[in-house]
């Protein structure tokens, strides 16, 4: 499915940033993730749900801590928050 492939790209990018060690300034990683999060939260509710499901579907493909990290992405990136604004 195309949406799973998009979820893999986002998950890999996120993990690459987070495990880049000292190579990238940690504050810059926060900035990049803020922008990624804003883009994901800008999706409509149905699209957010589809993307959330995709993250959960692909999570078992990862090992160890990465698996949990990918599975928690829907919540961490605010895909499951109610529309309060």
């Amino acid at each position: 499915m195309m949406i799973d492939q998009i979820a893999r790209i986002l998950a890999n990018l996120t993990l690459a940033l987070e495990y880049s060690g000292e190579n990238i300034d940690s504050d810059d990683i926060v900035r990049i993730q803020e922008i990624m999060g804003a883009d994901m939260q800008a999706l409509d509710q149905e699209s957010r749900r589809i993307l959330s499901d995709a993250f959960r579907r692909i999570a078992p493909e990862y090992d160890g801590d990465f698996r949990e990290s990918v599975a928690s992405m829907p919540e961490d990136f605010g895909l499951e928050d109610e529309d309060l604004d």
């Binding site: 300034d25 810059d28 993730q33 922008i35 919540e75 928050d81 604004d85």
Partner: protein, 378 residues
């Protein structure tokens, strides 16, 4: 005849100049007496209530009010104003026959029609606001709990205030949650907060103090909570710096481009105190030192700096969105430690309410109380 014409011209000129007709004197300085029983409509004398009257008119004529209320007078809205009005009339006209009674009658009539004073509006009259505020304060606590608290809070007579629209949630938050602030400051803030609290604010305060919600529904109880905490040594006294913090300005690293990046960058760069370098043509971030466990110093960046009436000098960090990943948590902990090292309070500014709740939840989970969150629209 000539004199009459002359008097008429003079009177007219006086009227033109002053707007008043001169009293007729007939050339003599005669004082004209005022007869209260004089009918102003036709100029004829009437009878007083006890005076003689023609046969066949046994009953006194219906009383005419002596009052002609001047419409220019401001409307009396309180008993005090009415009492003053009555006292003034009695002083000026009370010695005239029939006037004290008439004044008293009018006084009673006015008093009966005084506007009802607005009852003190209960800040807890709006259960919806209370529950909403509670949800914001309590974050993860079920909002259903608020209904019980609402009942509890409404039974307390101390919860009636005016100034409902001052939005004191932030103040209450500062008063109750800022446990790294000296106790006396918390106490003062709590007093100031509750004086302007709205239903939503009360809900917020109640929700925020999850340790003992019942204690926070009255001002006295807030004070008790704070003073108890002081005695228990829970509030760490800090030295409030008098001058501005020692800030180092560092160039910011440009991130990738795109529409969202532009919006996020514009939002971050518009934080109060943000600036850019003329030489490097880059945005600059204010940074304060964090003392590492080995004694070395490292800089921790923010987006701006400001002077806040509640917190003094503050460091501002703007968040376009809240992503609860490890890096943000690490950043929050770094900032909190640096703020603590410099005796400062930090403020995260976010663009929307949902992001404020996310940020508050994150800081709560991390046990960080020296970073506050507020909404600043882009």
């Amino acid at each position: 005849m000539n004199n009459l014409k002359k008097d008429g011209r003079t009177a007219f000129s006086i009227w033109m100049r002053t707007g008043r007709w001169p009293r007729p004197t007939n050339g003599r300085n005669l004082e004209l007496k005022f007869n209260p029983w004089h009918d102003p409509r036709d100029g004829r004398f009437t009878f007083g209530p006890d005076g003689p009257r023609p046969k066949g008119q046994d009953k006194p004529a219906p009383k005419k009010s002596i009052f002609k209320i001047d419409p220019r007078l401001p409307q009396m809205t309180t008993v005090a104003e009415l009492d003053a009005w009555k006292a003034k009339l009695l002083k000026n006209y009370g010695h005239w026959r029939g006037y004290p009674e008439a004044i008293e009658e009018k006084y009673r009539e006015f008093k009966k029609h005084l506007p009802t004073p607005n009852p003190p509006k209960s800040v807890l009259s709006n259960a919806k606001d209370f529950v909403t505020g509670f949800g914001e304060g309590a974050y993860d606590v079920a909002k259903g709990t608020a209904k019980g608290l609402y009942s509890l809070a409404t039974t307390n007579p101390a919860t009636t205030f005016r100034n409902l629209e001052n939005g004191a949630a932030g103040l209450i938050d500062a008063a109750i949650q800022a446990e790294d602030t000296p106790g006396y400051i918390q106490f003062e803030r709590a007093k100031a907060s509750v004086a302007h609290a709205s239903a939503k604010d009360w809900g917020y305060a109640t929700g925020a103090a999850t340790s003992n919600v019942a204690l926070t529904v009255t001002p006295g109880a807030i004070a008790a909570k704070i003073s108890t905490a002081v005695r228990a040594g829970k509030i760490e006294t800090i030295i409030v710096p008098k001058g501005p913090p020692k800030i180092t300005w560092v160039d910011e690293t440009p991130t990738f481009s795109g529409r969202t990046k532009v919006q996020a960058r514009a939002y971050n760069d518009s934080a109060t105190g943000a600036r850019s370098s003329v030489l490097s043509k880059k945005g600059q971030a204010p940074a304060i030192e964090r003392t590492m466990p080995d004694g070395t110093k490292r800089l921790v960046k923010f987006d701006g700096t400001d002077f806040d009436s509640i917190y003094g000098h503050v460091m501002i960090d703007r968040k376009w969105s809240i992503v609860m990943r490890k890096n943000l948590k690490d950043q929050a902990l770094r900032q909190s430690q640096a703020l603590s090292n410099n005796n400062l309070i930090g403020i995260w500014e976010v663009p929307t309410k949902s992001k404020m709740l996310q940020a508050s939840r994150l800081l709560e989970k991390l046990g960080i109380s020296n970073i506050k969150v507020r909404i600043v629209k882009p």
